[in-house]
Amino acid sequence: MTDRYALEHRLAPHVDERWTEALLLELRLRGVPGDTIGAVLAEVDSHVVESGEPAHDAFGDPVAYARSLDLPVDDEPGPRALLASTGPTAVQVLGLLVLGWAVPPLVRGEGLDLTWGHAALVVLLGAEVLLLVRHADAVLAAVVRRPVVSWLALTASTAVPVALLLLLRGVVVGVPAAAGVTVGTALLLAGTAWGLVRLRAHVDDADPVRSPLDGDEPSSRGAEVLAASGVWLVPAAAVVITALALVVG
């Protein structure tokens, strides 16, 4: 059973966890660096212990407190950096999609018909990814503050591309299924390679929220394995799906 407040308990063990969670979220949304967030939480914890006052009495509303600190934020990452961070997975997913379209016809000995629906799906998904990447904080804040609207938007963003795929059956061009399989595999490999390169370059070492008292802790093996496995998720799924299609088809 995972502890929803694991981070809060670790960084501010003496503070009301919901107060800490609200403070943590607000600081995150503002783009305050992880180290700084850890320092803020540690200082609140220290004050709460020494004064005996609960956080809400001493510091007031956590969101207002976060704002009053007016901490410097990380520089806005450039569009290239933002795109690069989601790039590997997006390419892998595209490869997976193409394989999903191409393998069944290949198994049946048919050609692959690319429809307007296919094109629409790729374009729409690409647009959604770009939106998320450029406005991650705003999207996150919207989800927290307007959960119902966000849920509706998420549903629509998934349903519309799928609906278009099913409805727009006009064929744009027919290609040999083998070509589709080749393209799909190539995309999958390219995306995986890109992800591995970024992993080795430690570009995406996520911004961990750390207490300033931790000193130089080596990141846990578990976290490293998790990060590495992220790159292999989509290829693993592709292998499974393709194998199933070959066996069942």
């Binding site: 540690a42 609140v44 220290s46 212990v49 004064s51 001493a58 007031g60 007016d70 207490s211």
Partner: protein
């Protein structure tokens, strides 16, 4: 909450916000200390209780302005503490602000001197909660 009959030591928030920076700088001139202890010093000086929600943002501003250095030290059997210390720029700012503040206070006191009531309170630093009246 204070009970009936005990004097409350509440200064108007506006006043406290105005002097907080220079008072913090002055306390730190005696040596590095951490937030809670700083608040205790200010209370002992008669300024009343400065809430964490007011004190720490003020410390953060001074730190960002380069007037304070920070150092984390392990607490005594408790959570670690963030110690603040004056930088050279902080020392210079303290001298400048303190001088100006004392002058400002003198001018203000002189202006309103004849409007005061004699104080019978044995602890002259503690004042009753003033009724809020807008200044003319």
């Amino acid at each position: 909450m204070p009970q009936e009959g005990t004097p409350t030591a509440e200064w108007p928030g506006d006043w406290l916000r105005g002097v907080l920076a220079v008072c913090v700088l002055r306390v730190l001139a005696d040596g590095p200390t951490y937030g809670y202890a700083l608040g205790v010093r200010l209370a002992e000086a008669g300024l009343g209780t400065v809430k964490g929600g007011t004190l720490y943002p003020a410390l953060a501003r001074l730190e960002q302005a380069g007037l304070l250095d920070v150092e984390w030290r392990a607490g005594e059997g408790g959570p670690g503490r963030k110690y603040y210390a004056l930088t050279d720029a902080g020392r210079a700012e303290l001298t400048r602000s303190a001088t100006r503040w004392v002058r400002f206070a003198e001018l203000t006191a002189r202006l309103v001197a004849d409007a005061t009531t004699p104080s019978t309170d044995p602890a002259p630093d503690a004042v009753p909660l003033p009724t809020e009246r807008p200044l003319p």
